[in-house]
């Protein structure tokens, strides 16, 4: 038993961190007067080259042959750098393509050519071999495909399946958002939860990404508290600020430990994996939302401006909360499960 990354995993982590901090600094999202949309898709080919788009895919499918533990190391860094959540579409679509033996699509994904958006339910939907319902399409405007999932399973659709999608400004304005609708539509690929653990994997990946958000907000607050002076000393020396930062550190640690635990459980399979994946998603999005809000407060008026990155973490945390079901529905699901002692 060891929850720390092994040397190979540390290498992956280091590579992800150094690539992303060089190629995708958070400042890229801070143009002069606010911005709609982002250019993160330009990163996909480079991430592909580094193997990050096929981390969890078997080598036979063009992947690296690793699994969820390695993927969460990457996703934590993706969260820290606020990379477009469209990457989750790539990861999930690759798994779908691999399981349904679609080498052309697989190749397009693993090479970084494909664009895959996310389709997240607006209210109750039916997802299965025949699918219907209202969806939000996230980061799908320039994508040919979109991935959707519920507890029942995961599906890949053509974005045109969603009809005349309607553009809407997203609270997180660096993401494209559309409303779309499926009417008795057959997905290009459908894998039920019984046949594959994609929904659970999605939850753990979101948890890792959200942990990255929570950690970045914590670090941003602590760094500011060390340098910002009021009343002749750094604000971090005041207990009100110090304890606020300490609470952020606790939440981030809680989120990461549970995410690691869940990643290993899901990778190993077994009956408790659903429980731990749900707990991870719940704790990590909770940490991301709370830490983002606290970070704004620590920054004072500056935290309320678009000049600061503080709001970016808050908005992305809300997106992560709604992806795969918000805190309320996560809790409802978790209390319905058997104990996992």
């Amino acid at each position: 038993m060891n929850l720390l990354p092994n040397p190979e995993q540390v290498q992956i982590l280091d590579a992800a961190r150094s690539f992303l901090s060089a190629e995708a600094p958070v400042e890229r999202l801070r143009p002069q007067h606010g911005q709609i949309g982002n250019h993160d898709a330009r990163l996909w080919p480079e991430l592909a080259e580094l193997g990050f788009l096929g981390l969890g895919l078997a080598e036979a499918h063009g992947g690296v042959g690793l699994g969820l533990p390695e993927e969460i190391l990457l996703y934590r860094e993706l969260g820290r750098q606020l990379i477009s959540p469209a990457i989750l579409g790539l990861t999930l679509a690759a798994l779908l393509a691999a399981r349904s033996d679609d080498p052309a699509l697989l190749n397009a994904i693993v090479s970084g050519e494909a664009r895959i958006g996310l389709a997240t339910p607006r209210g109750a939907v039916t997802l299965g071999p025949v699918s219907s319902g209202a969806f939000h399409l996230i980061e799908a405007r320039e994508a040919a495909w979109a991935v959707a999932w519920t507890d029942d399973g995961a599906a890949l659709f053509r974005t045109e399946d969603f009809g005349a999608a309607e553009d809407i400004l997203c609270m997180d304005s660096h993401l494209t958002l559309e409303r779309g609708r499926l009417e008795a539509c057959e997905p290009a690929i459908w894998i039920s939860a019984a046949d594959g653990d994609l929904p659970r994997r999605a939850q753990v990946l979101i948890a890792a990404y959200a942990t990255g958000l929570a950690e970045a907000a914590r670090d941003m607050a602590a760094d500011y508290a060390k340098i910002r002076q009021q009343f002749g000393k750094p604000i971090g020396s005041f207990q009100a600020v110090k304890h606020r930062c300490a609470d952020m550190a606790i939440l981030a640690e809680v989120a990461w430990c549970q995410t690691v635990f869940a990643a290993v459980m899901v990778q190993n399979g077994g009956p408790k994996a659903t429980y731990h994946a749900g707990a991870a998603k719940l704790l990590a999005t909770d940490a991301a939302l709370k830490n983002a809000a606290q970070n704004i407060q620590v920054h004072g008026a500056f935290g309320f401006t678009a000049d600061s990155d503080a709001h970016l973490y808050l908005k992305r945390a809300h997106v992560m909360d709604f992806l795969g079901g918000d805190l309320r529905s996560q809790k409802a699901a978790l209390i319905g499960l058997a104990a996992a002692l």
Partner: protein, 385 residues
């Protein structure tokens, strides 16, 4: 202890209600820019023409000179009528004018007060500086006397709507050698003076939403005639303003929030069903919020009761401010849980998401919740500094 309004008060309430019913602008208030400025000034002018501008202003300055109870009634009716906030005029009506009344000279009063009251001008506040937010008295924007002018150099920040304002209440350091509270002066700054430059600061609510500014002053020459109170006595002048700010002007906001909450209750009933709401975590939180918003009204009434007869707002008022600023955030937050995933959308007509994002400022503006709780601990409970 009673909630009985006098016949006179009830008549006043009826009059206010009738006037508001006939005169409140029905279109949506533009949320920024010149359109917002024009809207707010026009609505102020309409109130002035109707005899309703400056309910708290003494009659000698053209105000209505209402007792606190009738001010309360006015703000209750104002909020219930759905009248717009007119936030652009807040600084002029509730900071600058009361300060000029209290500490200004006759020329300053005669020139500025009517313009403010009639909705001819907008004011902004030049207090906070990049390195001094909570610690206001540490400000460093410098002014030296040169003949009959102050020459100002430095920078102010978080000046709401400076880009839409004609005048500014400006705090400057006129004696750097004095103890920090003793070398400050309070001046009226014409925003068209040469040497003033603005840097717009966008806020987090939505892309391109311009609200704050940083203001840079380079050799800006303000006539000494525009100093309110004595040179170097500006801290005490500013404190009289802050006292007023924390007075009755926020009443309508407190009352308005009760209406906001009931919209949320209606939405939750529709989404979850009235029966299911009882023990649902959303229903339980809404019930708590209902009780808390009821208490905000009770606290407002208590503050009015304590202050009636001319007493100043006690430090107990700080309890309500601290409570209300956090209550606003809780109220705005639950909207997202009720709406669900459509909260990701920022629609053009948006009663919920932008206001939610905006609510992050309530525990920062006008004293962070940390500073407010210091004040409560020290002034209300007598704890050591």
């Amino acid at each position: 202890m009673n909630l009985d309004f006098t016949a006179e008060d009830e008549a006043f309430r009826a009059e206010a209600r009738a006037w508001l019913n006939d005169n409140v602008p029905r279109g949506p208030r533009p949320t920024e820019g010149q359109a917002m400025r024009a809207f707010d000034l026009a609505w102020q002018r309409a109130q002035y023409d109707g005899g309703w501008a400056g309910v708290s202003w003494p009659t000698e300055y053209g105000g209505r000179g209402l007792e606190l109870t009738q001010q309360l009634i006015w703000y209750e009716e104002y909020a219930r009528s759905g009248a717009p906030e007119a936030a652009l005029l807040f600084v002029g009506m509730n900071h600058a004018a009361p300060t000029i009344m209290a500490r200004g000279n006759e020329a300053q009063k005669a020139f500025h007060l009517p313009k403010i009251l009639k909705g001819e001008v907008a004011w902004s506040q030049g207090f906070s500086e990049p390195n001094n937010g909570s610690d206001l008295a540490g400000l460093t924007t410098k002014a030296v006397i040169d003949g009959d002018h102050l020459v100002v150099n430095g920078s102010k920040i978080w000046t709401s709507n400076a880009h839409l304002s004609d005048w500014q209440e400006l705090l400057v350091r006129t004696d750097p050698a004095a103890p920090k509270h003793k070398g400050i002066s309070w001046a009226i700054c014409d925003m068209t003076l040469p040497g003033i430059e603005l840097r717009p600061i966008m806020i987090m609510t939505a892309p391109g939403h311009h609200h704050f500014n940083q203001v840079f002053y380079t050799d800006v020459r303000i006539p000494l005639a525009n100093v309110v109170g004595e040179i170097n006595d500006g801290w005490s002048v500013a404190m009289s303003t802050l006292g007023f700010e924390r007075g009755t002007a926020s009443m309508s906001e407190q009352i308005r929030y009760g209406v906001v909450l009931e919209k949320l209750v209606d939405m939750a009933r529709e989404r979850l069903g009235e029966a299911a709401l009882k023990y649902d975590e959303i229903g339980q939180r809404l019930a708590q919020l209902r009780a808390e918003h009821a208490a905000v009204r009770a606290m407002t009434y208590m503050i009015v009761s304590r202050s009636a007869g001319g007493g100043a707002m006690g430090s107990e008022a700080s309890l309500m401010r601290a409570f209300f600023s956090q209550l606003q955030q809780r109220t705005r937050r639950i909207a997202l849980d009720i709406i669900g995933s459509d909260s990701l959308e920022l629609p053009d007509v948006d009663p919920w998401i932008r206001p939610y994002l905006r609510s992050f400022s309530t525990t920062i503006a006008a004293g962070t919740s940390e500073i407010q709780r210091n004040i409560i601990g020290e002034r209300v409970l007598g704890l050591p500094r």
